[in-house]
Symmetry: C4
Subunit: 231 residues, 4 copies
């Protein structure tokens, strides 16, 4: 079942290494199939170069394993919460990529300091609040999803397709697994560029893009009258 | 038509990846043919590894597509303005390379802090002013060209073959597409080196090269009595 | 003798290059065989790409060469002290990896600023005190081991499997040579991430992970009820 | 003539790319043959991948081209001055490597902050003074050599085999071309590590290695009783 989605998830997981977003098995990609209501996700702790299409795990939105002999990623409950709360999201990526994780560790969102970010994210990539002791100790991975959702209560997740989790690392998503991977790469690039530009500004009053530039760049790629690319 | 120039543009666009200046399709190279008055430019949003010579788009200086079935780069109006204003320029490169973009995001020109930059740029690589709301909303890409031209009103663009656009990213140019690519690489290298040397100086009173060293280095490569290289 | 362990040590030494932890011959891996009481270690100054299984040197815990025609790593006395003091350790890695060495040179331990470190290290990766003049001049490599052991007088070395030696560089260890290599890679990654997050915080009051997050992450990988991975 | 030395120089020049010390043709290696009193040096502006053994240029210590159809490196007069002033030096490397050049641009020597540097450099890698206007305008490349020699008036160049030239970039040397290349790699590595450790210290009172550690490390590799490696 879901052979096409499994193939997409396999490719996107392999893409984590291609784009230098992961060390060892520190990342995972999932995809959501709205017709069956199931997700396909990477098995836990399996190296990317050993992954086969038959290793992919199919899980329902209540967390039941529907198909697969391996355990799904330990982050599966986070993915599930996000799919339930964010309509239109069809792919989710989690990594510990170097520069994005640095912002997460600093407990700071990545401000939109340039058009590189504005082309894909409609503003700052936010940082969640810290999880409480109780959230950590009761249902950690589910609560990681919840705190992301809370962060997006006034933000459209399709317009800002990523986040850094306080003290942890980035999550990114999109309308397909490939698009989620794409956004994870953008997040890492812009995390690096904006780290550097903030250092140049001496960490004092770093530059943020004017709203009208943000609007223009986001709209020329994603708006009704988008004119970037061939379609 | 313009087969030779198309070949040069194809090679220079592939060079963006070779020199690690681009992620995805975040960069483009064009070339200008003075005899026909046309430019050849990369099509919009096409990955470099899929580019063929027949994908190159020929555009006249009034923006009309003269040949090609694909849409030209969305930055084409910027390229056109620069060719019209900067006599002698035959190639233009635009990238979102990491270190150059950091300076653009910080809204700062790259001071000439060493001979590496002085060998190719006769002084600081300037940063443009911010575009106004009106410029962004009316004719964004053309105005990006205009603000670069304004920045060079007292600078010879053949002596300082590059710029960082405020909140955006670098443009570089040269007397051929290959030379424009070369200058884009130098801009990125010197953006990194001078970021680092400014950090060492604690962002206070960073070093700038003495004028007489700048003159010497620029002249030994580009002056009348240049003595670098084999010719 | 010890053919299996020699093979593991050869592979782990080659892994130093694969994971970009070494320049020239600036690193070495050893393994301990509790049944014979001997260790297997890289020969001194031999490039990784020229290493053969027969080059591995077998040394007893009193420092006698038991087998091998080459001189063992000059750091052998440090390895020996650690094996004698840290029960359960079966592999040790020493490198001069860039980011870990930067912390060592700064004389600072790597605080646990995120879950990436918490997944493998139960808290800060400590920095030793400086060695005294007498320690340096009498039995330098042995004293390097002693100062590490002193640093761990209140830390369980199996829970914090690494250290940076003041003014020198990292050591990491584990319950096998492969695990020691793994921990050396984690140390280098987290040294980079936490360098970056501290810079973002302006070196003032950098973030440290809450204890309950540290506990949770360490336990979900290493605790009694660990649920990461397939076993 | 000097076929063996030409081969060494060819290999060492190719090594500049292997060790990621150069962009384009921004670096050169020479070697000195004491019996003939000639040097072999890279031709100016020729890409490393196109270099053949027959391209190497033989130059006498008075600057006369003894053999070769190509122009020697424009930095040849610097190399010549160093060979004349530094007895025992048989190879010289010049690069614009990123991190070393950052220190040169900052006008700062690289302090000996750790054993990585101490293993090869007996203390700080110094920075020259700025060249005067007159020096630049009369005999620039020769004066670059002179200012290096002036910097070493109280330093043994065989014990500190490298320097950063103010506002310019590193030079390194050794008792053979291969050893000069080796020292250029060490200089770049330690330039990076010490940049990072200084940032960690907030640029305030950065750590410097104690003299007795410096002595120990330098001596265990280069002293009379050296015990690193197999010989």
């Amino acid at each position: 079942m879901l052979e096409l989605l499994k193939k997409e998830i396999l490719l996107a997981n392999q893409g984590l290494e291609k784009y230098d977003l992961v060390t060892f098995t520190w990342g995972n990609v999932s995809g959501y199939d709205p017709s069956s209501g199931n997700i396909v996700i990477k098995p836990s702790g399996v190296p990317y170069e050993k992954l086969n299409i038959t290793d992919m795990v199919v899980v329902s939105l209540d967390g039941t394993i529907v198909e697969g002999s391996l355990k799904p990623s330990s982050d599966t409950p986070t993915h599930i919460e996000l799919y339930k709360a964010f309509p239109g999201v069809r792919g989710i990526v989690h990594t510990h990529s170097d520069w994005g994780t640095a912002w997460a560790q600093a407990g700071k969102g990545i401000p939109c300091a340039g058009t590189t970010q504005a082309d894909y994210f409609y503003g700052e990539i936010p940082c969640t609040r810290r999880l409480t002791k109780e959230e950590i100790e009761t249902d950690y991975e589910k609560c990681t999803g919840d705190v992301i959702i809370e962060t997006f209560k006034d933000i459209n997740p399709l317009e800002v397709p990523g986040v850094v989790v306080h003290g942890h690392a980035p999550f990114a998503w999109g309308q397909s697994p490939a698009s989620a991977l794409h956004n994870a790469v953008v997040l890492e690039k812009t995390a690096k560029m904006t780290f550097l530009s903030h250092q140049l500004a001496g960490n004092e009053q770093p530059e943020v893009l004017d709203d009208y530039v943000l609007n223009k760049h986001y709209e020329r790629k994603h708006g009704k009258n988008a004119y970037y690319g061939q379609s």
